[in-house]
Symmetry: C2
Subunit: 403 residues, 2 copies
């Protein structure tokens, strides 16, 4: 697109991105905005001024009403925005509805209905298998036949910037006779990509891989904070629970799939062949480059393109049993880890279960998170016209455990 906007090169939010979020400003009610360079485009008054059909959804304090409108509406609004940003004649109008991001507070962008977390990076699953089950095959027998996943706690999904209290709970070190209670001593992150469902589906009806784009609006970044010591003691036989449920952070901007079309790649070849309902009908691998910073030091750059299970397959699996979708459902990829040691998406892997400390720029070393540590995950994708589509950051700082 040609545009009159002058977004500085390197901004995560060029006019080819147009991610949606919810902001509050100047004491006014939170409402929907679109990131453009260093500003937020205040959609509600702009849509009202222009008489945009259905524009009242942008007055909502969450994206859900817009998400529920479905793909034709998503496309229409994007086309409308592109037209405004292409034609110089709209410049004054648009500029009168820009608010500097530095002056707004970004909110949780959508009300999370159900939250599902997958486990779809082969490198991550193999690393975890080697660390936790050294005497067994790294991958469980089901891993290459289905995208393993589980439900997380939707009520503790928080927006980037929310501080995370170190969780307490039970753990039992292997050499202890019985469990003890206390703050987690192995607090970790998981850098993931999340997919946001807009259009619901009825209970009892499976959604095929080919309908991915009809249901899913876009993507965000997810940090699935994990207390490894709590998790290790609790997770057999029903899976992770308190080791994960204290907090899950998401980035404040939801990047539309329409902004990621240039990033589409074929997912990895799958051998053995998958069952019919999991067969891919289109390329929904995504060439996203993640970056993890620990107290400001970049410690890892996980590549998303190599994820074994792609989001269209995850959606088909999630619903193959007739589970319904709701507007606001969030499903995350699982930790994104690449084949190299500098591409691991959790500190469990980066420090190889605490045996290989990570050195930060200030010379200090880390294995798991210390109180006061701050972690930030960002990502970018190739966009149209040689631009870069940024995800903005999902950031969080660790507060000490409550007494």
């Amino acid at each position: 697109m040609s545009t009159w906007t002058e977004v500085p090169e390197g901004s995560p939010f060029p006019a080819t991105n147009l991610p949606y979020g919810v902001f509050s400003y100047d004491g006014e009610a939170p409402r929907v905005g679109v990131a453009l360079g260093g500003d937020v485009l205040d959609l509600a008054p702009l849509a009202a001024a222009e008489g945009l059909d259905g524009g009242h959804v942008f007055e909502s304090p969450s994206l859900n009403p817009f998400l529920a409108m479905g793909r034709p509406a998503w496309s229409a609004v994007r086309s409308w925005l592109v037209e405004l940003l292409e034609h110089e004649g709209y410049r004054d109008l648009v500029e009168s509805h820009l608010v500097p991001q530095s002056e707004v507070t970004l909110q949780l962008p959508f009300e999370v209905a159900d939250y599902v977390d997958f486990y779809s990076s082969q490198h991550h699953a193999e690393n975890v298998g080697r660390i936790f089950r050294p005497d067994a095959e790294a991958l469980t027998p089901n891993w290459k036949h289905l995208p393993i996943g589980y439900h997380g706690r939707a009520g503790t999904v928080v927006v980037s910037g929310t501080e995370v209290v170190r969780p307490s709970g039970q753990r039992k070190p292997p050499d202890a006779d019985s469990p003890s209670y206390g703050p987690s001593v192995r607090l970790d992150i998981e850098a993931e990509v999340g997919f946001v469902v807009g259009v619901p589906s009825p209970q009892g009806v499976a959604v095929p891989t080919s309908d991915f784009r009809q249901h899913v609006f876009g993507a965000c970044l997810v940090n699935d904070w994990s207390a490894r010591d709590l998790q290790a003691w609790e997770y057999v036989p029903l899976g992770p629970f308190l080791g994960k449920s204290f907090a899950t952070s998401v980035s404040p901007w939801v990047v539309p799939l329409d902004a990621l079309l240039e990033a589409r790649v074929a997912g990895p070849a799958q051998e053995p062949a998958v069952l019919g309902y999991l067969e891919r009908q289109a390329d929904w691998g995504l060439d996203l480059s993640l970056e993890i910073s620990w107290n400001g030091t970049v410690v890892s750059r996980p590549p998303f393109a190599g994820m074994y299970w792609t989001p269209d397959q995850q959606l088909a699996h999630l619903t193959v049993n007739g589970a319904s979708l709701r507007t606001g459902d969030l499903y995350a990829s699982g930790t994104v880890s690449g084949p190299e040691s500098g591409q691991r998406g959790s500190f469990l892997e980066l420090s190889w279960n605490g045996t290989e400390p990570v050195t930060l720029a200030d010379g200090s070393t880390r294995t798991f998170l210390e109180d006061g540590d701050e972690v930030s995950v960002t990502a970018w994708a190739p966009g149209a016209d040689g631009t870069r589509i940024g995800f903005g950051a999902v950031t969080g700082r660790v507060l000490p455990a409550r007494p």
Copy 2:
């Protein structure tokens, strides 16, 4: 209480019960009602007529606004209802707001925020362990140290009476080389008791066992439909997912804790001693008698009083890591199984993994559910003045898999 009401003996809904639900009637908007004998008391107009403080919450199509008001309001409304039912002078007024249950449609009584399912019957856990892991200890090492639980899919919780489509998915019989896709051939139930959270708690703050009654409004019955073949193949290492997420049914009436005070019993002694945060501060074992009917034949009578982990302990565990509570959170006990073979709460156990068929009244036999089968779970508890507090039924019929 002395009451002018003439609820027939044996009704699950005497004046000492007063469970809350949501009903629709005569094409009008769904709203809150209370079950009384064979009728529903239409609370919204009654509260309006009497000028009850906050009575507008009963105009809502879910219990959530009432649940959010908290224990003082719950007690005030109950006292108001008791007064109306005690004094003959209110008889005409109350009777003018009764609607026969036969003329209403009962709705999902509350919007489910997060749904957690525990695993708190020792008999059930031992039975499952023996069936699925015959070469290992029946209980995993963590079982007596913490109430094991996991998150289920809140969006597929449905009200009693909703038909359940047989789920399809992947399974791999032990003797097969690779998994296959198809309708579940081992469709099961789990008879459980669910607890409904009214008052939220902030993220980062644990809720002690002693605060159980401040947060939990009441209880309902839960049928956690389970596809055992899907579950067996998928559940290692992250727990049950599609084997459970297609449907979970709840009874339409939420019985207030205030109606269950006569049913309180000490939970079983716990050895080894539990960690401090799990110590019971009051008796919240509940002497509920469940009954499971399969196509009209009573096949099991699980006793709830023997559950190893009590709901106050479950709540404390659920939040010990700082996970917040929201109005509408539902947590279920896990399958209720007693020590006798006629007290098992799942067909997996009743048929001992399909090896001991169950004979129904019509002479037919069953191991797992067949298409068209109907299952109903009811329960009752001792109530005040020698009455019986009924839970009403959670019922569901199995529809054939979709092609």
